[in-house]
Symmetry: C2
Subunit: 187 residues, 2 copies
Amino acid sequence: MELNGTARLILGMISLGRRSGYEIKQLVSRATRHFWPVSSGQLYPELKRLEQRGLIRGEESSQGDRARVDYSLTPDGEDALRQWLVDQRELGFQMRDEAALKFYFAGVLDRNEVLELVRARRRRHERLVEETSAVAPEWDDSAPFRYLTWEYGIGLHTWIVEWCKRTEARLSERTPPQSRERGKRND
Amino acid sequence: MELNGTARLILGMISLGRRSGYEIKQLVSRATRHFWPVSSGQLYPELKRLEQRGLIRGEESSQGDRARVDYSLTPDGEDALRQWLVDQRELGFQMRDEAALKFYFAGVLDRNEVLELVRARRRRHERLVEETSAVAPEWDDSAPFRYLTWEYGIGLHTWIVEWCKRTEARLSERTPPQSRERGKRND
DNA sequence: TGGCTCATGTAAGCCGTTACATGATTTT
DNA sequence: AAAATCATGTAACGGCTTACATGAGCCA
């Protein structure tokens, strides 16, 4: 009973209340996008597969207006979700951070180029903080996890912004513009 | 002249000095693994491709002992690397954080299960901090980026550990063990 | 001699992104 | 009337992981 990433997301999202594929996408873009993205190319086929496996059930909910299908968890689906949530195996964690990689190789660059790189990195996370701030959920005593997750996102990216500021300062105060020639190696 | 993720990594790694595939893997596992991983299944074929594209050049360097190939950048390779480094397009950034996703859906769990989840998350990042601490590079005035990147990793994961501690405290101090029945929805 | 590290690969398969397609309905 | 949003998909492709394979030297 293995669930891929998209399946986990779907089951979880539906456990928050019956939802259509489209609504899941919206909620993802407001809430989990930055630590668990999904694309329609993955979402809709996976909804079909989960229905065939009997973990979710879809019903037409087009009340007069647009055609659409709302899904809800079956008992098997609730079990599968729970099983995953309490699964003791190692929690997956991966990051792909192009700015960090570039920075690691920044020895090839001159001082201004490095600074520009760090500034771009800072802007990126400032934007992430802004975007996240814009979708603040209201506090709900019975469901604190949305809010705490939102706070986590804000805090994490704010920390990165601060790191960028400190690094910019350190790189700026460092001696004269010693632009090391290109191609020079240092093993 | 597009470079995929692995190609960027390879060019950068080789710019730090001529290296074999195996050495690149080692350096990755010590330095970039957490924000830019690579597997041999991707690495070795990509080395061949980059050589065919004329961006790197490999020579046998088996001095008596084992067979191995050391690669160095060609002028075209240096250009390609530089082009990527100063490229102004949006810097890629993605995270896949299973613990964060589980936490978002933690309404399904009872209080102790949530606490266990957060603790597992904390342990994960404590381990990351330890692992990173274990591979501290020495400071090098002419190449500060390795060190600064290392520090970044330590700082980031430490921040996450602290967030977990705060969250554990908040969840613990919160009222009596109100284990909400399963299956209950809150839309 | 058995196991570990060095060193380089291949094959299968999943997973996910991108881009495209369609059509209805609401808004400007 | 045009444009944006709602809503659901499909096809192609790339990238990456996993697992396996091989063989040579090193160390106990």
